[in-house]
């Protein structure tokens, strides 16, 4: 193992750039997935029955389809008649569509736990529908969903490794490369696992802090 780590140091720039790509992809899709999730959630609860059905269909479709199919479709399938996108672009688009669906589902679940009287009170005060959404609905569902949303960030970090399969040079791809060059497969995968665990631990600590910071007063005890 020690000798493998020494070898890793030799390839340090490569490993480091892989790590950077992993963090970049995870960070970008966490943000776009959250924004997308909020947009889908807004569309789902604010429109008529048709819009509700369309957004529900969107959510069900992307939750029900393996992400790898979508990524391969865009990366290997699309160039047959359309543009050839970079691996990073394909990964961002694919993950965003997928993560937004999950996040929207979490927000919808939290929304069902809100007090309908509160929303009516806000309308009775003269707030517009958009204001009710921004000032009353969103702050509450976001807080209620902190555990689910941060869990999704952890999933994003781990799942970003499948972008390896569409030639995105992320951390796991680099470790794989290292493993092949050094023939130290066991060591390489063990180190890769340990690094993912360390990264996830950082997110977990941040998530716990967020949960404590943004807990909805009185809600946790009531449940």
């Amino acid at each position: 193992m020690i000798s493998f780590l020494a070898q890793m140091l030799e390839y340090w720039p490569q490993v480091l750039s892989g790590l950077g790509n992993t963090l970049l992809l995870a960070a970008v899709i966490s943000v776009t997935g959250l924004v997308g999730g909020v947009v889908v959630f807004y569309l789902a609860i604010s429109g008529g029955p048709l819009r509700r059905r369309l957004t529900e269909g969107y959510i069900s479709f992307f939750i029900g389809t393996p992400l790898i199919v979508l990524l391969f479709l865009m990366y290997y399938g699309l160039p047959q008649w359309g543009p050839k996108l970079t691996p990073f672009t394909v990964a961002v688009i694919g993950f965003t569509l997928n993560v937004a669906a999950y996040n929207a589902r979490y927000l919808m679940t939290a929304f069902r736990g809100l007090d309908p009287d509160e929303l009516q009170a806000a309308r009775a005060q003269g707030f517009s529908d958009m204001q009710v959404f921004q000032l009353v609905i969103l702050p509450q569902v976001m807080r209620l969903s902190v555990p689910a949303l941060t869990n999704q960030v952890i999933l994003n970090l781990k799942d970003s490794s499948i972008a390896f399969l569409i030639q995105y040079a992320e951390f796991f791809a680099q470790m794989q490369d290292l493993a092949i060059r050094s023939f130290r497969f066991l060591d390489a995968y063990l180190v890769a696992g340990a690094v993912y665990l360390a990264l996830v631990s950082v997110v977990v600590v941040a998530a716990r802090w967020l949960e404590r910071r943004y807990v909805l007063p009185g809600v946790r005890r009531a449940r």
């Binding site: 309308r123 003269g126 007063p217």
Partner: protein, 280 residues
């Protein structure tokens, strides 16, 4: 001067008649109570007056303007009407103070300092300034309702609507609300209060309308309305409510309310008390 005039208000929903030609007036500074059994359309009636529900027919004139017309500024109308709900409906992610300032900040575009000052004044009026930084979950039912009333008053509404303000409260906390109704009546705040709580209707001391099956059957002082010469329908309701009230709380509706009833051990709302206030 008439503040609110309702004429022949009708609402049908799912083929069922909810309101069947309701008419009444509310004068400036008046407190009127609408009583009736559950399902009589009381709460729906209030919601028709600020367009939370659109009625099928009739006329509502508020501050000289037609409320039900096609190009009414709904949001401006609602800002003129303070609405107090049965379940308080406080925003639970906000403190008491933030609950009161939310509309001032985002509808009146008031700077934070000014909104806070104004909200604290309203909370003080409700004897809630000491709890300004607590969240709804940390307040008792009566305290929550007082914050809700402060929230409604902060926007300087022309009228306050109360929708069953005591039905989620125990008798002691109901008294807090009654004390506040008295205080506001003495300040000549126009109020419309919907309730099936006889104790509240009687203690509030306004004129009472009896609503049943979407119609107003009688209007008058509590004692004449529910007296021995009353309509049999009203007597039946009265009887039933009285029995329920006595089963639920050891307070007779006839018992006068002590004006200096302390609220949660705090200062009484109005030292002179409702009983000491002049009749208007």
């Amino acid at each position: 001067m008439t503040l609110l005039s309702v004429q022949d208000l009708k609402l049908e929903y799912d083929g069922r008649t909810i309101l069947d030609g309701v008419s009444f007036d509310l004068a400036q500074g008046e407190l009127k109570v609408i009583m009736g059994p559950s399902g009589s359309g009381k709460s729906t009636l209030l919601r028709c007056l600020n367009r939370l529900t659109m009625p099928n027919g009739g006329r509502v004139v508020f501050e000289g303007r037609d409320v039900l017309g096609p190009d009414v500024d709904e949001r401006a109308l609602r800002q003129r009407i303070g609405f107090v709900f049965q379940n308080f409906a406080l925003y639970r992610h906000l403190t008491a103070l933030q609950n009161v300032t939310l509309a001032l900040r985002h509808l009146r575009r008031m700077p934070a300092a000014e909104a806070d000052e104004r909200a604290l004044r309203q909370l003080a009026r409700m004897d809630m300034q000491a709890h300004a930084h607590k969240y709804p979950a940390q307040l008792s039912g009566g305290q929550k309702q007082r914050v809700a009333i402060a929230r409604a008053l902060a926007m300087d509404p022309a009228v306050l609507f109360f929708d069953e303000p005591t039905s989620a409260l125990d008798p002691l906390m109901s008294r807090e609300v009654v004390n506040i109704l008295h205080q506001l009546r003495d300040e000549r705040v126009s109020m419309l209060c919907v309730t099936h709580d006889l104790y509240l209707a009687r203690a509030a001391g306004g004129r009472v309308m009896f609503l049943d099956q979407g119609r107003i059957h009688a209007e008058g002082e509590v004692d004449e309305l529910f007296g021995p010469n009353a309509d049999p329908r009203i007597r039946a309701f009265f009887h039933q409510e009285l029995q329920q009230a006595q089963a639920a709380q050891p307070i007779s509706p006839a018992q006068p309310i002590s004006p200096a009833q302390p609220m949660d051990g705090a200062q009484p709302v109005d030292p002179s008390g409702p009983a000491g206030s002049p009749e208007r």
